[in-house]
Structures are given as structure tokens and as C-alpha cells.
């Protein structure tokens, strides 16, 4: 990341900073419910604002939220692929460096 981007990122994080925020453990505990509500098109009853704020400032949790959402969505729509087909796909794809 270029230094200009780092400055931008820091200022963006400062702008999003709130007095009260949830930590990563709390965020990850809420993620399963949040993901299911999002995929169902319903609103999570409480704490969703704090959760979204945490995802906006914590890149690690954001990555895991997106992965969980995609895998649960895959399971809902197509079903989890079986082991053999997943292994075949892994063996055949060129990996990210």
C-alpha cells in the first residue's frame, strides 16, 4: 500500500471511530446471525450498527465475514460441494501468489 493510501486509510478510520465499539471476539460471535439475516433479507434485531461499524474499521473481520457469507450462500443455493470435487478444483486452479 502506498503511503498516500495509508494516510487516507488512517483518516477514514478516524472518521469512523466511535466512543463505544465492539471487539473482534464480539464481532465474530455476531457474524453467523448477521450473515444469515443478510442472506434472508431480514434485519438483525440489535447490535447490527456496532457490527457494521466494526467491519468498516477491522479488515481482518471484514475478510472473514465475506468468506462466511459466500460459503453459507453457496451451501444454501447449491449445497456444499463434496470433498472430491473441491479437491479437483483446488488441484486445477492456478493459485494466487
Amino acid at each position: 500500500m502506498q503511503d498516500e493510501d495509508k494516510l487516507h486509510k488512517l483518516i477514514h478510520m478516524l472518521a469512523l471511530t466511535r466512543g463505544e465499539e465492539i471487539d473482534c471476539t464480539t464481532c465474530l460471535k455476531l457474524l453467523p446471525m448477521y450473515v444469515e439475516c443478510e442472506l434472508a433479507g431480514t434485519a438483525m434485531q440489535s447490535e447490527s450498527l456496532l457490527l457494521r461499524q466494526h467491519l468498516a474499521v477491522c479488515h481482518d473481520c471484514l475478510e472473514e465475514y465475506e468468506a462466511l457469507r459466500d460459503i453459507v450462500h453457496l451451501e444454501q443455493v447449491e449445497g456444499l460441494p463434496d470433498r472430491s470435487s473441491l479437491l479437483r478444483e483446488l488441484e486445477s486452479q492456478p493459485p494466487e501468489s
Binding site: K6, L7, I11, P32, M33, A67, P81, D82, R83, L86
Partner: protein, 207 residues
């Protein structure tokens, strides 16, 4: 064979005998498939984990996740499907392990550990406004934060260190690192606001 559904897993895992074993086996299979699906999605190469095969790698993570799930079984509150809760656990395990290893590789390749941490380098084309932003933030970071807050913030924002790596460096856990960075952010924000700085205006200047 017992009639196993996803919804019956928590109860069956809490039981004993054949019922528990079958539930355990079903959950293990699901976790292996989630681990593989995660690897497909992320396109991580095997060497990123120092592993010989995807199959073994997925089995190892599934086993670790199972141990955590069984320890935390009583904390499952059925606010989501049991499997979604379990999938989050294995994804977190794999994500953090990847981050640790990726940082270690990057440190060795780029010599990050050998260079002193500098916040940034102002390019020759930087505007006066940018230079002033840099200068003020640098002053505040160096003067207003505690050493641990500074180490956590600089590590995260300027060196791109994952929280799990910072936690190990600071001898604490990820939540405490998050708190350090949060406290640092609050302090910086307060100091900037006290100086009449409008962060929204600063952000607009990047557009």
C-alpha cells in the same frame, strides 16, 4: 444409523455413544468441505500453509475446529444455524494461520523486521495540504499515544500487520490489540477535533 440433521447436531454431540460419534463424523465431514471451499475461494497455495496436500490441510483444520466447537458447545445459543456458527470458527482458524505465515514470509522477504518502523515517506509531489496532514498526524502519534498504542496503530495501519501478529508481539490477545488501536484512534480524533480539524474535509481532499 441415527437420523442426523444439522439442527440435531448440537444435541447429538452432547450425548454419548453411537449417536455422538455419528454426529461428530458428520460435522467433521462438513468442516473439511468448508475448509476446502475456503481454500478454493481464497486461492491460497499449499506452500502458504507449509502443507503437502490440501486434503491433509483441511483435515488438520477440521480437527482443530472440532476441538474448539466441542469445548464451546454449551455457548452455542441457536441464534444462527449450528453449522453457520461452526463454519465461522474454522474460517477464523484458517484466516489467522494464513495471516501469521504470510506475515512471516513477508518479513523475511522484505526485511521488514530489520528496518526501523517509519510512519511514511512524503513524496516529492505531495501537496502542501498533504504535508501538513502528515506532519500533524505524525506529531500526534508520536506525542499523544502511549508506546503500546503507538506500536499497535503503526503496526496495523502503516506496516499492515495482522492483529494476530501484533497480539503475539505485544504479548496479549487480538481483542486487547483492537482496544489499543481503538484507544489510539479515539485519542487522535479528539486531538484533531480540538484543533478544529474536520475529518470529512480531509477525506474529501482525497476524492
Amino acid at each position: 444409523m441415527a437420523d442426523i440433521t444439522v439442527d440435531s447436531l448440537p444435541k447429538m454431540l452432547s450425548s454419548s455413544g453411537v449417536e455422538r460419534e455419528e454426529a461428530y463424523s458428520m460435522l467433521r465431514d462438513l468442516l473439511v468441505r468448508v475448509a476446502l471451499a475456503y481454500l478454493v475461494r481464497q486461492r491460497y497455495p499449499l506452500h502458504a500453509f507449509g502443507a503437502d496436500s490440501y486434503d491433509t490441510l483441511a483435515e488438520d483444520f477440521a480437527q482443530q475446529a472440532l476441538e474448539i466447537i466441542m469445548r464451546q458447545l454449551n455457548s452455542f445459543r441457536a441464534e444462527s444455524r449450528f453449522t453457520t456458527w461452526a463454519y465461522q470458527i474454522i474460517i477464523n482458524l484458517m484466516a489467522d494461520e494464513y495471516r501469521r505465515r504470510a506475515w512471516r514470509r513477508r518479513s523475511l522477504e522484505e526485511g521488514v523486521l530489520e528496518r526501523p518502523a517509519t510512519l511514511w515517506q512524503v513524496g516529492p509531489d505531495a501537496s502542501v495540504e498533504r504535508r501538513e496532514m502528515w506532519a500533524l498526524l505524525e506529531t500526534l502519534i508520536l506525542q499523544e499515544l502511549t508506546p503500546r498504542q503507538r506500536q499497535a496503530l503503526i503496526g496495523r495501519v502503516f506496516q499492515g500487520k495482522p492483529l494476530v501478529v501484533l497480539a503475539e508481539e505485544l504479548g496479549t490477545d487480538k481483542d486487547n490489540v483492537y482496544k489499543l488501536i481503538h484507544d489510539a484512534r479515539k485519542r487522535l480524533k479528539r486531538e484533531l477535533q480540538a484543533r478544529g480539524i474536520m475529518l470529512e474535509e480531509w477525506l474529501e481532499s482525497f476524492e
